[in-house]
């Protein structure tokens, strides 16, 4: 009997301890008195806006809640917190980030329950467009002048956040996707040349095969999202083998998947993918290789494969010892048909405002400056969407180099599968293209299956 009494008293003590622990919340932050003068800040400020008032101290002590698709304390979360420091110091406004990986599901629950966060960082414009159409988002043009936006952004970037003619959000940061990575040291030793055209690239691929190696490292396994690297290749080839109008029509669902244009784009990359002499491990290994592991053999000494097409975030999967400019470098995935110029595929995050309060407006204005991306620019991993970003803001030559490639492109388009409805862009497109690569369905059948899932 004594032992049970001890158990219960221990249990009660732990219970009380945890209740006390839970009650120990954070203390309130002291507020500073507002000043009339405008202090010096490290970023550009739109004249006459809420940010200007915020810097004068009008909203000190307020909090702005931001939701997003990364965890508050993973690498992106730390970079976001770094990016917000300059704003918080200048205005005294606290930025409270509450996002997590289940964002895509939880944001609809939150908004539906009337608990919308103040600002949302959208990784997929498709999701954003839905909220714009349902009227939950306050368009930026209501409080940020057109002159300011056109000063901060290239007109092309402003199209990404325009839905049905309403410019609802602002682009924040992006990664460039039309990039091919190669092992620089071995590459120079072997004397290979960077290809300028698609024919050069195919010739190089054949040359590497003749020298006894497989040229490409390709892997598309990514758990539930298996197949997405193949959709990126398809988008890159769509931009290179047909007009931008056709690309936009395809993304909007007006040009079906089983049209000759889409088929041609997929067949263009299939030429490389389905040749066992060109792909490390052969076609059969593509579907089962984790996309993050696939560039690994490039860093063997000597390399087992020499080319890897992927967005700039892939460098976080490279071996820790590999150095940019020494062990690896990148080049622009060459155009196929010169008639379509030098297009560039990008994907990125855009920011939108749900609750209209002056301190939220101030933070939205801060997001139109490249300093709001400083965490990523200094820590690596993403590129500022603002045309006012300068070299000194970037912590590495790599990200700056990618941004210069994008600036030099004749056109750029957003990742198409991110813009398509979720059933297609994050569903049937991935599944069917994976089956096609695995060889279990024919291309025509796969494309018809994708068309059938497009919501009516």
């Amino acid at each position: 009997m004594k032992t049970t009494r001890t158990i219960w008293s221990i249990a009660t003590m732990i219970l009380i301890a945890s209740v006390v622990l839970a009650a120990c919340g954070p203390a309130a932050t002291p507020t500073a008195a507002p000043t009339e003068e405008m202090p010096e800040v490290g970023f550009a400020v739109m004249p006459g806006g809420a940010l200007e008032r915020a810097i004068k101290g009008e909203f000190t002590g307020t909090t702005v809640t931001v939701d997003g698709a990364f965890e508050g304390n993973d690498a992106d979360g730390v970079k976001f917190a770094e990016s917000m420091k300059a704003f918080e110091e200048a205005t005294g406004i606290t930025v409270n980030y509450i996002g997590n990986k289940e964002f895509e599901g939880s944001i609809a629950i939150r908004v539906g329950a009337g608990d919308a966060p103040d600002i949302v960082d959208f990784p997929q414009p498709g999701l954003f467009a839905g909220f714009v159409r349902s009227g939950n988002i306050v368009p930026v043009t209501e409080f940020i002048s057109d002159a300011w936006l056109s000063q901060q952004y290239n007109p092309g970037w402003r199209e990404f956040n325009t839905v049905d003619g309403v410019e609802a959000g602002v682009m924040h940061r992006y990664s460039g996707k039309s990039l091919v990575w190669y092992p620089k040291a071995a590459w120079d030793e072997a004397g290979y040349q960077i290809p300028e055209t698609w024919d050069d690239l195919l010739a190089l691929t054949q040359q590497i095969a003749d020298d006894g190696d497989t040229a490409w490292c390709i892997g598309i396994e990514s758990g539930a999202a298996t197949g997405w690297p193949a959709t990126d290749w398809t988008e890159d080839m769509m931009l290179r083998t047909t007009s931008l109008e056709n690309y936009d029509a395809w993304v909007a669902g007006e040009l079906p998947f089983n049209s000759p244009e889409v088929k041609k784009a997929i067949e263009t990359w299939s030429e490389i993918w389905f040749n066992d002499a060109y792909v490390y491990g052969g076609r059969s290994s593509i579907v089962s290789t984790f996309f993050g592991d696939s560039p690994g053999p490039m860093f063997d000494n000597p390399p087992k494969c020499w080319l890897h097409r992927q967005a700039n975030f892939i460098t976080s999967f490279f071996p820790e010892t590999a150095k940019y400019g020494v062990d690896y470098d990148f080049f622009y995935l060459p155009p196929v048909d010169p008639a379509y110029g030098k297009p560039f595929l990008v994907a990125g995050d855009l920011i939108a405002m749900f609750n209209d309060r002056p301190e939220v407006r101030a933070l939205m204005e801060y997001f139109t400056t490249p300093q709001s991306v400083s965490g990523w620019l200094e820590g690596g991993g993403a590129i500022a969407a603002h045309q006012t970003a300068t070299r000194d803001l970037y912590g590495s030559d790599l990200d700056w180099g990618v941004s210069q490639l994008v600036a030099g492109a004749t056109s750029f388009r957003f990742d198409g599968s991110d813009l398509m409805p979720g059933e297609v862009g994050a569903g049937s497109f991935w599944e069917q293209i994976t089956s096609y690569v695995a060889g279990s369905v024919e291309l025509d059948a796969a494309l018809q299956e994708i068309d059938a899932t497009w919501p009516k």
């Binding site: 990364f70 993973d74 010892t321 820590g379």
Partner: protein, 367 residues
Amino acid sequence: MKSGKRQKQLGSLFVNGSLFLLTLVWTIPTMGIFVSSFRARDDIANSGWWKVLPYRDWQPVREIDPREAGLNPDEIMEIEGVAGTFDEFRAGIETPDGERITWIGNKRIGRLEVQERVWTVDWNFTLDNYKQVLGGQSFTFTRPDGTVQVVPGDNMSGAFLNSLSVAVPSTVIPILIAAFAAYAFAWMKFPGRRGMFIMIVALLVVPLQIALVPILRDYKALNLNGTFLAIWLAHTGFGLALATYLLYNYISTLPRDILESAFIDGASHFTVFTQLILPLSVPALASFAIFQFLWVWNDYLVALIFLGGNPEFELVTQRMAAIVGSRGSEWHLLTAGAFVSMALPLLVFFSMQRYFVRGLLAGSVKG
């Protein structure tokens, strides 16, 4: 007589042998993760964890530069007494004295390696994964003025405390309520008892996911969202059906005589419950406590919905999800993370296992 003894021996050998084999097969994946948790990311990516066991491999003894040796990879090459094409050399050609000559790399920058077959092990162990999981990752920023700053990430201690603050009350509260309920269902007579019990059993099959949105709305109205009380109540509700059912099964099998004698002595239901039922049902309480504790400790979904993504209230499971990075580039940290998050439930299990035995004895001997 003798053959019978031998048969018995054979039998126990068979039982023990197959038990040993099963345990081995069962623990191999855990072993693999355990070994991997001490290996660096690049090592995990390049070779399997079983390479920590001795194995025979071809190791280079010396290198030959094919260009200096005047070899042309497009023709049949002859060196060290063996001859073959480029493809044959790439696969490796064994020399008569037991060595192997292998062409490493392609025709342009390749080299020839003379290799010897030796026993070897990969013992490059590191504590780095555990350091990053427990002490937090570090992030490097290159500032515009060229200085490099390292920003430390969150460590595990906060998440551990939060998980404890969630798991302990979420285990104790449902057990208390369920023990009362089970006693009432087993030993008290009241109208609708049968119907209510059937309802509780029926609730066992209702998945908790369908309750998330309605509860979230109610919490929103009550302003409970993102508080510990919210998640305690949620776990209590979700665990109550199973707890009541399990404890009912145990409590209803206690001998009727003890209770009756207590009632004759003038004991009230409350006295019987606290003085007799609770002490006698320690084994059942302990086994359900383990179930519930493990379930709450490993829960990700319920915590995510009711505690939100607020880093201040981050639990161990959420920390694990965050630690791999938004694209999963830090997946190797999960190996160490799995063992770190496993430590406490294991401790709970082993410390409560003692009470299983003691509780069983108390029930049978003193009964």
